[in-house]
Symmetry: none
Subunit: 213 residues, 4 copies
DNA sequence: AATGAATGAGTATTCATTCAT
DNA sequence: GATGAATGAATACTCATTCAT
């Protein structure tokens, strides 16, 4: 359903997860993180087992604990990782943007594009009662929230916009992105342009500004 | 974070949990449902154990299964219950409303009021990695979504509004309500009026229409 | 597999098990016994639940315990019942018989006929690891064993046959009846005559006396 | 009652159950198998709990599942194990035998000897309604049956014996072995020779060929 | 550091039996 | 006697984590 969860979880990238790989400590650490991202994405936090994760890395179960103290720790590390990778993207849009409208449009489009691209990786069989893992107040969500909030603040400042309730605005924008993104994923063909138009229209001008289909 | 989950979860009722055998069947059924609502709210679907639930009712563990076949079944029953109780509220607002704007304002206010009132029952310590239980495609969420969507459709028709992407609109409105509601809950004093103004402003007029604090 | 279990379980007879029936104490007692026979037959002792049994009678679960102290007690009562009903049959064959050979043939034929007739009632989905319930040293088995043993003894006496190890002989005959019966049940068409010929041939004359197919 | 069940269940081995973590994997596997054999033997399939089994091994409950996926799986493994160990025995007798009579005699004697030797391990207090576990169509029983059937077939072919109903014959022989074996176990002194003489006599010549006590 | 077997607390669920009505 | 809801002990199985090698 929701997907803000995955918002920051940008690229699982180099998906070469053969048995063992290079055996550098950092390589192992990254391998575990990547595997965790995939497994949590597919199964949710509770549904995922650390065996699921390490199976994907080809490492031994004990090895997991050389890198992360617990299941929860990887989960949080994942969150941080996501947030860290999301920041540059936001920054780019921020630099390119001339005003809030263009920033919002750029960020939304980037998000929906990412969502569409990563679609297969995520949204796999989510079991009964399992929501997305990162909907929770996790470093990740918090970080992304803060990130977006700050970008908003600076953009709005830059154009001397009248003050708004930034917390509400940020929360609302993220929520809209998430939900519209979810709906978009269910449609064929997947229309990221339409989703962007809708979300941006709503936030910038409300109901009257919505695209007419 | 999210709370649309709890949108429909109206009142957990009187918490008189007397003995065990003397309670009537309906009382027990309701007691279990109420306990389940609380426990799922606090611990999430996976975090909750049926022992947690029955402990709260004072019943024996086996008794639980006289009423619900499984943990999942209570969960779904809870969902239905929620949706069933939300419907009348929406209907009332629908009857009272003269147009989309007034309907939206009425529904939002009703939701935020409810949220504020039920505050204690919900939002207790959510553990690691646990998202809200009802974020999932549950009868509840589905039902509420459909409910809201239909109300929107009829209201917009009534006023001969130009067509919009109803799915996106519904999803976005629910998301905004949920997230703004969550933020509202974190503030003191709890300002349902402000939350309503914000959410309604955003949806009706976008950024420019937002209340200026 | 085995079926001596059912050997004595002659007729489940009057299979009218509507709700409640005549409500005589004896009627209820019999209803429970009949239901138990069927349920134990289908599910085995462990697989059967007393709820399964009482469901078949239309009585309330508590009522069961007005008639039998426990699940085990019905089981044993069933055994006794079976043995009690098997006795007359043996007696008839005993009266008709002129010698051991004719007695054996009569008894075997009676058994195989019964087995074939009752086939559907018994041998339903037996779950993993569940053998027939009555293979155990139950009053029933013991009683039938004693019954058959005595019949053998008297028949052999009557014809002044040389002494044999009666315990072994009885055990062997019952075993052969059971196993050949089981195999017979698996074949189509069901050939009770052939099974009788085989079992009788083996016991009376061994391998050389077996029917040549 | 029956004991063919135990026919193949050769030796429960040395009962040295030392620590836990130091034991080798194969040792643990075997320990579980041995414990399972004993527990199933004593309690039957349903009566046995996996806790009973692991208690006997001194291992932790989870360890059980490192070796066998379920209670049923040990049960089946036990069966396979039994069949695997029975095969050589039959083969030896087959090689030694010059005709069906000598083969039967050899096999029966081997079985009764084994039964007498293993007596203590098996046949402990069998609880209410519990039949032997292996009476069911288990790999073990099936395998042994097939084993015996084939041996019979080849032996009879070798001597150009007239055709018989092999299925019936095999079933009958196994049944006789099992039941006579059970009775034998109840007698003191335990007379394997007598049991062999009886079983072989019956099968080869029927009633007239039975040993006269 | 890596391994992977051992651990055991924890969970959902069943079911024989009791007992208030 | 009959009823059927309440009871709670008992069971199979999972999985995060530890630890000897």
């Amino acid at each position: 359903m929701s997907n803000i969860a995955y918002f920051p979880a940008m690229p699982p990238r180099e998906d070469n997860r053969p048995g063992k790989r290079e055996r550098t400590k950092t390589a192992n650490r990254q391998a575990i993180l990547d595997a965790a991202r995939q497994v949590f994405g597919e199964l949710g936090y509770d549904g995922a087992t650390v065996r699921d994760i390490i199976r994907l890395t080809g490492l031994a179960s004990g090895t997991f604990y050389n890198y992360y103290k617990s299941k929860e720790e990887v989960f949080d590390a994942l969150a941080d990782d996501g947030a860290r990778r999301f920041r540059p993207l936001l920054r780019v849009e921020f630099e390119k943007a001339t005003d809030f409208a263009s920033f919002l449009r750029g960020a939304m489009r980037a998000y929906f594009d990412f969502l569409a691209a990563e679609h297969e990786t995520w949204r796999v069989n989510r079991p009964a009662g399992e929501a997305h893992p990162t909907v929770r107040s996790t470093p990740e969500v918090t970080a992304v929230f803060a990130e977006v909030r700050e970008a908003f603040e600076r953009v709005l400042e830059r154009e001397h916009a009248p003050p708004v309730d930034l917390d509400y605005l940020t929360a609302a924008c993220i929520a809209v992105a998430r939900e519209v993104g979810d709906k978009m994923l269910e449609r064929r063909p997947m229309d990221t342009e339409g989703a962007t138009a809708f979300a941006v229209g709503l936030i910038l001008g409300g109901l009257p500004a919505l695209p007419r289909p």
